[in-house]
């Protein structure tokens, strides 16, 4: 598998921030594998988790270029041994009598759930490391995947280290306004 790394960043929750981040990747020729963005415990901040394909040079450039963006408040690499990470996928499969029981056992073995069922289709929800989802997809591919969507990885560091250690963004922002 191609070398890849994972980055989490806290960004200002402002208009266009996702464009600013993703445009930096385009401009520098970095290749995004997956990107997930959502709100955080602080309404002023959003968190973006990005999985990127690339070697050591790209990794360090990517982190440094992210740090230069005005809206990016903190950036950390999520190293796989030191983080917990999950991705969600919804996969719609052909529901044929002759493959149904094989699909159900795969769902059972991978500990995922069937969340929709129609006479001709069924939809599986699977959560886990991206590698687990990849493995499940390989298993069910022969049964006919009709469509699927993946959330991209989200990750937090293990234990008591966290991303916004150094910043209290809301306070800083209030000071700037005064």
């Amino acid at each position: 598998m191609m070398e890849h790394f994972e980055i989490a960043c806290l960004v200002r929750n402002s208009a266009g921030v996702l464009t600013r981040v993703s445009s930096m990747f385009t401009r520098r020729g970095f290749n995004i594998n997956s990107l997930a963005v959502g709100p955080t415990e602080d309404p002023a901040l959003s968190r973006i988790t990005i999985s990127v394909n690339g070697d050591e040079n790209i990794r360090s450039q990517c982190i440094k270029q992210l740090r230069k963006l005005y809206d990016v408040k903190d950036v950390k690499e999520m190293i796989s041994e030191e983080r917990v990470g999950r991705e969600l996928a919804l996969i719609k499969l052909k529901n044929l009598p002759e493959t149904r029981s094989d699909i159900v056992s795969a769902v059972d073995i991978f500990r995922c759930k069937i969340i929709d069922f129609s006479p001709s289709t069924l939809c599986v929800e699977i959560t886990g490391e991206p590698s687990k989802i990849n493995a499940f997809i390989t298993v069910v591919e022969p049964y006919g995947i009709l469509e699927m969507c993946r959330s991209g990885l989200v990750a937090l560091q293990r234990g008591c280290s966290y991303l916004n250690e150094d910043i209290d963004f809301r306070t800083a922002n209030n000071e700037a306004r005064q």
Binding site: S23, R27, N57, K64, K68, Y70
Partner: protein
């Protein structure tokens, strides 16, 4: 005090120390221009002929003064005309604030007349940009724009202000001038490693870029060079940091660099790079770059370390502080073997110079040399882009920092005239612009601005009736297929053009005419144009062949063809 958004913009600019802005009015900045009218005795506005030139003028103003340049344009085409100017400033890390009007907020997103998404367009060519959505945020947004433009590695910031925000009324309270964020300082271990690497080296070479200019480290560089007995080379952007006649100065390196600095860099066992980005034009083939050298790279921008070239030691932070601390720990040494080698390179370079100097025709060297006699040490020298730019970089005897103003990173033909206007108005000094017939053809309508403001710019057009730099490549690497680089079909008379704009002009066609005509032209105190007819077979030499390394530098075309 209650005032309109437009007044707030103008008051904030004045509060931030801005004295001159460049711009062009339009439908969505009428309010702003009304505020400029009311404040005309406190803030000078220079009307350009085209928003691109206004942006280059703000850029030239900033490069010559070290202040932040300001440009104003209307929405849509006004804003898009700024794009080349903003990109030029971005690639050369010039502090600039661009202010654009936009349609009112209720019209945004409806493809309204003269609407365009200028924050989207300028995203990759600004340090940051803002669209102001609330008049309450307006003053602080402009202050923040100045802070971003000036902090760390400088660059352009754009503030887009919808028309209804300019018209809205809000309270304004003046604030003090924002100060740039403090630079990071190097770690003690980094300084120690740098000192060790310098002490272990036998053939150190100091290499400075535009970052050295902005860090004001000319004294520290010379002190370091004296201390470790090293020569000093430069990129195009670092020219003028160290006086060209300094005995340790070897000149520019890279694609059209001086022979001595390129060769010394190739042979060095330690390169101390100060505020340069190892651009492809400066390094030649990166894979073969400085094969014998370890590299210490000091830069304000951490992302520059290991970006283009992998270095043994990268120090991100304040250059002046780092150099001081390095110098303080070093003992003065002499390196006679290295100096002997450098003296050989300099002698070879001198032989090439003599060949150039002794030509009995109107060569670029003869012209630049003659004009340079009329320049003070502090005269801003501006160029456009192309062969003439490289000749000025190679031959002009620069003596003081910030006197060489050129578009290095983006290589913008058409940069020169606007930048010369900005440099002259910023410094209050007579400014010399060297340009080519190709570059000048892109921007000559700004002669109107030169005349209207009686800007003391000496415009020297090196006219060879070809697009010389591309033609040089066509000669050397494209079997002399002169595809669209021959301008003979044009019959432009630059003397008449200047006169049509009200500017006196002179033509020089031969070496014999040069001293007298130059004297006549330079005797004018206001703007003046000199058209010099030079041969089209003048090449920019030395030259690194594409993909070549520094030791493969071509110094003579016949030699190359043989």
């Amino acid at each position: 005090m209650l005032m309109t958004g437009a007044d707030i913009v103008v008051e904030t600019l004045i509060e931030q120390g801005v004295k001159t802005v460049f711009g062009y009015p339009g439908g969505q900045v009428i309010d702003l221009y009304d505020a400029l009218f009311k404040a005309r005795h406190r803030l000078n506005h220079v009307l350009s002929s085209h928003e691109q030139h206004a942006a280059h003028a703000a850029d030239g103003y900033a490069r010559a003064t070290g202040e932040t340049g300001v440009v104003i344009a209307t929405s849509g085409p006004g804003a898009t005309n700024l794009v080349t100017g903003i990109a030029t400033a971005y690639l050369d890390s010039v502090p600039m604030v661009a202010i654009t009007g936009n349609v009112g907020r209720s019209l945004i997103g409806r493809d309204s007349f003269q609407e365009c998404d200028i924050t989207g367009i300028t995203l990759p060519i600004t340090k940051h940009n803002f669209m102001v959505q609330d008049v309450a945020d307006l003053a602080n947004t402009i202050r923040e724009a100045f802070k971003i433009a000036r902090s760390g590695r400088p660059g352009p910031v754009l503030v887009d202000i919808p028309k209804d925000i300019q018209a809205a009324i809000h309270e304004f309270e003046p604030f003090e001038q924002v100060t740039p964020e403090e630079n990071d300082l190097a770690e003690d271990e980094e300084i120690l490693s740098a000192v060790q690497m310098i002490e272990e080296s036998k053939r150190p070479y100091i290499y400075m870029g535009g970052g050295a200019l902005r860090a004001n480290v000319e004294n520290e560089i010379i002190e370091l060079a004296d201390c470790i007995d090293a020569p000093i080379g430069t990129t195009l952007m670092g020219i003028s940091v160290v006086p060209c006649d300094h005995p340790r100065y070897l000149g520019m390196e890279g694609m059209h660099g001086h022979f001595a600095s390129s060769r010394a860099q190739h042979d060095a066992d330690l390169i101390i790079c100060l505020g340069a980005r190892f651009s492809d034009r400066a390094t030649g083939n990166v894979a073969k770059y400085a094969p014998k050298a370890k590299i210490i790279h000091i830069d304000i921008d951490a992302a520059e370390l290991n970006k283009n070239v992998n270095v043994e030691l990268g120090i991100a932070g304040d250059m002046k502080d780092a150099l001081r601390r390095i110098i303080d720990q070093l003992e003065t040494v002499e390196r006679p073997a290295w100096q002997k080698r450098i003296a050989e390179f300099k002698a070879m370079q001198q032989a090439q110079f003599e060949r150039v100097e002794n030509q009995k025709e109107l060569t670029p060297f003869a012209l630049i040399n003659e004009i340079s006699k009329y320049a003070d040490p502090s005269t801003p020298i501006v160029t456009d882009v192309g062969q003439h730019q490289m000749w000025v970089a190679q031959y002009f005897p620069f003596k003081m920092p910030r006197t060489f103003i050129t578009s290095g990173g983006l290589g913008t033909m058409g940069f020169g005239l606007g930048a010369a206007i900005g440099a002259s108005l910023g410094t209050g000094k007579r400014t010399i612009l060297f340009t080519g017939d190709g570059s000048f053809g892109m921007n000559l309508n700004d002669l109107a601005t030169v005349f209207a403001n009686q800007v003391p710019v000496v415009i020297v057009v090196l006219n060879n009736r070809v697009l010389g730099m591309v033609r040089q490549w066509q000669t050397l690497f494209y079997d002399a297929h002169y595809s669209h680089t021959n301008l003979d079909a044009r019959q432009s008379d630059f003397v008449k053009i200047a006169e049509a704009f009200g500017i006196p002009a002179f033509r020089i066609s031969s070496l014999e005419e040069l001293p007298e005509t130059a004297a006549k032209a330079m005797a004018k105190s206001g703007p003046v144009l000199i058209e010099a007819e030079i041969g089209r077979n003048e090449f920019v030499l030395p030259m690194l062949p594409p993909g070549g390394s520094m030791d493969q530098i071509i110094t003579d075309i016949e030699e190359q063809e043989a």
